[in-house]
Symmetry: C2
Subunit: 239 residues, 2 copies
């Protein structure tokens, strides 16, 4: 009676190849592109007929990189500095009783090629390989609540952060942008202004080099001052 | 790999006791009140700590009154008159590959009494008894998309409808409002301006009497003209 079983209807190929550096919500990094591929028997063009009229869609998905059953009644949201506990249902933590995620993303294109149906998505916050349970249109008249109050998470989590690029990083951005057909410099700026460091390292700067595997490269950067960082390089990964 | 199993974390006691007359989206009928009760082992006050700071919450739920497996690649949305087919993923139809629903509702109150944790919700569109898979806060900075375009469902589905009440219906509204602590006249007006009739009966008027089981009564009404209806009576149900 209380148990329900679902099958994924699609899978996402995302620019985020590992958990580290994934934004906490969708829509914060417009250049975070993902490709959703419908799985059989849902891979029919008519199943998405009319979706092209919507600018944004909801994805209901599974946090499949989190061990199931790995939840506690309270969590420590990173935006509260990681030292205050809130109820799991008052947060969008990945560690929840049912590891179900919810993201609204921009629908850039619907492609039908070689018998595959793909949705090209912008502003994504999903890990590569995420299984999708449902796709729904974003309905402004129901989903936009102008007078809603946002509790402890009222503001966008952007930081004032000056992002510098080394010469080699600049060049690598140009070639990556051509290869991937995405503005990679803008992607990196948007991503790093969200400051993906764990709470206890915030405010530190110095020799520590951070690495995130995004798109098809390892992005490396370090903090020169509290609000200034340098992108050291982008090293292409053959995989 | 592609199959996922979830357990309900809560159950909803709603004013909508049957499918007929349930609004197509949440938020359209502010006086549609529901009570969500957390199930064990989730029924701990600390699991919702901090939720009181949010005005609205997302509910991920199961359309449990729809037979599982009962879906087709296309559906006929009632708002298109029921004669145009759209892809199931371009709609919020209840008949979908995974019967998962998504509603944003107003969080009116969090109650802890006799070892039970209840959330009192407004603007609900859930059937009585709906199993809840997840509760998440509504985050305005991520969930409000002012420039989103809403495809075939851009406008709120309210109709210009004059709602008259018979004398006995007026009296019954007063006593029901006292009994239920809800503005029942307003509830009925909001509900019937959404015109719950099936598409092929729209525009008709005459002797046909409609009945919907809501709260603790059968609501009965008929159409006097295309845009004018009469609430005939509210008959209390002992259950």
């Amino acid at each position: 009676m209380n148990n329900f079983s679902f099958s994924s209807i699609a899978v996402v190929s995302s620019c985020y190849k590992e958990k580290f550096s994934i934004p906490r919500q969708s829509g914060l990094v417009s250049e975070a592109i993902a490709e959703l591929t419908l799985l059989k028997p849902y891979a029919e063009l008519e199943a998405v007929r009319g979706l092209e009229g919507f600018s944004h869609i909801w994805l209901t998905f599974v946090f499949n990189a989190i061990p199931q059953g790995d939840w506690k009644p309270t969590v420590r949201p990173p935006r509260l500095g990681g030292n205050k506990r809130l109820g799991v249902f008052a947060t969008r933590s990945t560690h929840r009783p049912n590891p179900i995620g919810l993201s609204v993303v921009k629908l850039l294109e619907i492609r039908s090629e070689k018998g595959e149906i793909k949705l090209i998505l912008g502003g994504c916050d999903l890990l590569d390989g995420t299984p999708i349970l449902d796709i729904k249109p974003y309905l402004p008249y129901a989903d936009m609540i102008p007078d809603a109050s946002g509790g402890f998470a009222s503001e966008k989590p952007f930081k004032k952060m000056e992002v510098q690029f080394s010469d080699s990083a600049k060049e690598a951005c140009i070639s990556a942008s051509q290869r991937l057909n995405v503005d990679i410099k803008l992607f990196i700026e948007q991503l790093l202004c969200l400051d993906p460091r764990p709470a206890y390292q915030l405010g530190q700067f110095g020799e520590r080099v951070y690495v995130a595997y995004v798109y098809d490269f390892d992005l490396r950067w370090r903090y020169l001052e509290t609000e200034r960082l340098e992108v050291i390089d982008l090293s292409f990964r053959e995989e």
